[in-house]
């Protein structure tokens, strides 16, 4: 228990400091921080539909965040989750609309697995082998592959083979048998949330309880010692990046089957990038990813409401997001603040 507390202590502190600084900014610029945060909170959790939308927003962040966290755990920086997400979405959409007459219990798993395999290969094979055997840095290769994926999907949708008849750059709708049903009517919340939570539990189990997770983490912390212990370091790099891609791809697929039901030209809102922040805030802990994804999802849904009701510009939520990222990345700063605080207390006591 103590251990858990200790590991979430810094991220929570980072969030609190970000909120405080956010208040100061609002005060200085003439807004009422209490009202703003209240409406932010109501927007995210105030009504059942709001909660549902926040949860729905969290789904792709959780799953992609898990993918990024896996790579981080293995000491690898998968910056291309966005592209792997697209690959997953493309394949899920294609399987979703081109196969007719399948029962849902075959069609949905088929689409999900197809998307995972494709994204796993996309993220794992090229960047993985390039890293393992030539040392090419995965930040570069995953990002390149990401661009390729994104432009490839633009091509598919804009007068490419996946474009629906007509002039709108979008794919046909997927078949009903491939749709993951909605839990709450008129919201975007689908049963995909259970896939996300199951994925988090699975990744936790995989990383901390299995031989494979043990190896991936060992390689992530210290390649040399892992090699000396007899592990196959290059193989582990390829596998970790693949696994990372698999989850980013799953996220894209779940979003298509559960929410979008078709591929639009601009259907992502940068989940692959936000996922990096999600994983960082969670300190790469798979269970932590669920909570940190919820936080960012809540900031997303809440900020729209805040903009309408407290007349605070929605960008303020972005500022808070930015501050959180800053303080997470710079936990050294927090250490310093903490020690300054301690020193002061000591001096107070002494005087």
């Amino acid at each position: 228990m103590n251990k858990i507390l200790k590991s979430i202590y810094m991220p929570i502190l980072a969030v609190i400091i970000a909120i405080i600084i956010g208040s100061i900014i609002m005060l200085v610029t003439g807004f009422n921080p209490l009202a703003a945060y209240a409406s932010l909170f109501i927007g995210a959790f105030g009504t059942l539909p709001n909660i549902a939308n926040t949860l729905a927003n969290a789904v792709p962040l959780i799953i992609t965040g898990l993918g990024v966290a896996i790579a981080f755990n293995a000491g690898l920086f998968n910056i291309g989750a966005e592209g792997q997400y697209w690959i997953g979405a493309i394949v899920a959409t294609w399987i979703g609309y081109s196969f007719k007459g399948l029962p849902w219990y075959i069609h949905i798993p088929f689409a999900l697995i197809g998307a995972m395999v494709a994204a796993g290969l996309w993220g794992g094979i090229v960047p993985g082998f390039a890293k393992a055997y030539t040392g090419a840095h995965e930040v570069i290769t995953t990002m390149m592959m990401s661009y390729v994926a994104i432009y490839f999907s633009h091509y598919l949708l804009e007068f490419g083979p996946m474009m629906e008849k007509g002039s709108v750059p979008q794919s046909p709708l997927i078949k009903d048998s491939a749709i993951i049903p909605t839990i709450l009517r008129n919201t975007q919340l689908s049963y995909g949330i259970f896939i996300a939570i199951a994925a988090a539990l699975f990744v936790y189990w995989l990383m901390y309880k299995t031989v494979w997770g043990y190896e991936m983490r060992a390689v992530g912390f210290n390649q040399r010692a892992s090699k000396y212990a007899g592990m196959n370091v290059p193989l582990n790099i390829v596998l970790s990046l693949s696994l990372s891609g698999i989850f980013a791809g799953l996220a894209g697929a779940v979003q298509i089957l559960g929410v979008q039901h078709r591929l639009y030209d601009s259907f992502t809102s940068g989940y692959g990038y936000t996922a990096i922040v999600v994983a960082l805030l969670a300190k790469n802990n798979p269970i932590g990813v669920v909570f940190s994804a919820l936080l960012f999802a809540a900031l997303g849904t809440g900020s729209q409401y805040m903009q309408l009701n407290a007349q605070v510009p929605g960008q303020l939520a972005d500022v808070i997001t930015g501050l959180i990222i800053f303080f997470v990345a710079a936990d050294k700063i927090i250490e310093v603040l903490k020690s300054m605080f301690k020193k002061q207390k000591k001096e107070e006591l002494a005087s």
């Binding site: 309880k209 299995t210 031989v211 494979w212 043990y214 190896e215 983490r217 060992a218 912390f221 210290n222 040399r224 010692a225 892992s226 090699k227 000396y228 212990a229 007899g230 592990m231 020690s339 020193k343």
Partner: protein
């Protein structure tokens, strides 16, 4: 002489551990003050407090009569305190000069290379610390890297220099050089705090010795008025046996047989040339040599960590030179690598996880790919007790243990698995006398139970007291294999230096 540094009643808690518990210490101007203490006694913690890396929970530091309230090393440096850590903190790809001036560049933002080099040359001259400012740190020997660390301190005008186990990684020759430097500094009025587990070194170089035990300072002695036995007893708190009892040499079958082995380094330069030797069961084979004469390449080749050029490696009569590293472990070979932090441990894994680093895949610890943590913890609590790893909480990260206790984790894993062949490189590096006594006993016990042991050490003392036979390597060639009983220091020394003929003369 007056007190330069005063440490009054310092206490420092880590989660679950009181690392420093009312520590007192006085260091005078111009003295070399040794700190002795068991692994985990709190020496490095105390040094880190003096250097401003850790904040004490209570107590007071005085430097030059002024109370220090350090918020970081930069303040310690400003006051004139320099430190060379147990594990170096240099940036390998930068040059000597760049490493030295890093963070305090002359000319501010725009790095003035010429000026920096000049400054460094001047300091080298003043303190007799010769070095090439343009060399890349990664190309330097350990001894020279250490010199860079020392220069770094004096570039920042240190008056007190803290050396945390500076000799643990040095060859005897390098140690002598370091002592020369230290004497020089002392003559210039610099004070030095010197940490070492080697009693003879403490005896040779220090003016005073302070002994620490379990977080407390138990006394300060004048070096001249004490002896090694007294120091050892004071440190451990019981009578320590500094002499080894060794049973009769009773060799069995050949376990490891190396024939005409040639190995190259990354630049394709032959580092091991046509080496042949056998090690039998029930035998400790010592490999003596000056660092960098092919030992590393030889051992890595034996473990499958480096390709061989030609030759044969046989284990129990089967060729193993093509087997991957893991397969060699599976055959019952154990390996203690030279660098515990880089090669032997995952610092961010717990002690328990580190204890299964070679065996996590075996049916003993995993079923269908799932690690059986109940067994892992059982193993951990057993090993922690057996090898006296402190603290005993096996859920701690290895990186949070003291240097010597980190080494004990590796030993517990490699020796505790009762290997048929143990390849041990500097197995007792950084361990206190009590722990060394225990490890030496365990090694002899392994030997008596019929294991074969290849012991590589830069310390002749260790090789000579343990080995049944001693191979001396020079420039990648085994110069001679001597009988452990009759080999003399002088003869091994000559062979290590590459002089076969001189060595022959000694025999007569």
């Amino acid at each position: 002489m007056s007190a330069l540094l005063e440490v009054n009643n310092i206490t420092k808690m880590f989660p679950k551990v009181r690392a420093n518990d009312g520590v007192n210490l006085v260091v005078e101007e111009g003295e070399i003050h040794a700190i002795l203490g068991e692994n985990g006694a709190g020496k490095s913690t105390l040094m880190n407090i003096i250097y401003g890396l850790y904040r004490p929970d209570s107590g007071e530091l005085k430097f030059n009569g002024e109370v220090l309230n350090l918020s970081g090393p930069h303040e310690a440096i400003e006051k004139g305190i320099g430190m060379v850590h147990q594990h170096f903190m240099l940036i390998p790809v930068l040059t000597v000069a760049e490493n030295i001036v890093l963070g305090a560049e002359p000319g501010g933002i725009s790095y003035n290379k010429k000026k920096a080099n000049e400054l460094i040359r001047e300091i080298s001259r003043n303190y007799h610390l010769e070095i090439d400012p343009d060399a890349k740190v990664k190309d330097l020997s350990v001894g020279l890297q250490q010199r860079v660390e020392i220069l770094k301190a004096f570039y920042r005008h240190a008056k007190l220099l803290i050396l945390d186990e500076p000799t643990a990684m040095l060859t005897p020759q390098e140690t002598e050089e370091l002592f020369g430097i230290m004497r020089n500094l002392k003559n210039q009025g610099i004070s030095i705090i010197f940490i070492s587990h080697k009693l003879d070194e403490v005896k040779e170089i220090s003016d005073k010795v302070t002994v620490m035990r379990r977080g407390k300072t138990v006394g300060t002695l004048n070096t001249k008025e004490t002896n090694e036995q007294e120091l050892a007893n004071l440190m451990v708190g019981r009578e320590v046996v500094l002499r080894l009892e060794k049973s009769e040499y009773n060799p069995g079958d050949v376990v490891l047989s190396v024939k005409d082995l040639t190995v190259s380094d990354e630049q394709n330069i032959e580092k091991v040339k046509n080496v042949s030797f056998d090690i039998r069961s029930g035998e400790i084979f010592g490999l003596a040599g000056i660092d960098g004469n092919g030992q590393t390449e030889l051992i890595e080749a034996l473990m499958g960590l480096r390709p061989i050029k030609s030759g044969v490696i046989k284990y129990n009569n089967n060729n193993i030179e093509k087997l991957p590293t893991r397969e060699r472990y599976k055959l019952g070979i154990s390996y203690i690598p030279q660098d515990r932090q880089q090669e032997g441990l995952i610092m961010k894994f717990s002690v328990a996880d580190n204890l299964i680093l070679k065996e996590y895949k075996n049916s003993q610890y995993s079923k269908n790919g799932v690690i059986q943590y109940k067994r892992v913890f059982e193993n951990a609590s057993k090993k922690v007790e057996e090898f006296d790893i402190r603290p005993t909480d096996y859920n701690l990260l290895a990186g949070n243990l003291s240097g010597g206790n980190q080494q004990k984790i590796i030993l517990a894993r490699e020796v505790g698995s009762n290997p048929k062949l143990l390849i041990a490189v500097q197995p007792t590096r950084g361990m206190d006398v009590g722990a060394i006594e225990y490890i030496h006993k365990r090694l002899l016990q392994l030997r008596d139970e019929g294991s074969a042991i290849l012991l590589v050490s830069l310390e002749l003392e260790e090789i000579m007291s343990l080995s049944d036979r001693i191979g001396v390597i020079h420039n990648g060639v085994i110069m001679d294999i001597l009988d452990g009983k009759s080999a003399t220091r002088e003869k091994i020394g000559l062979l290590m230096a590459g002089s076969q003929i001189e060595a022959k003369k000694v025999e007569v």
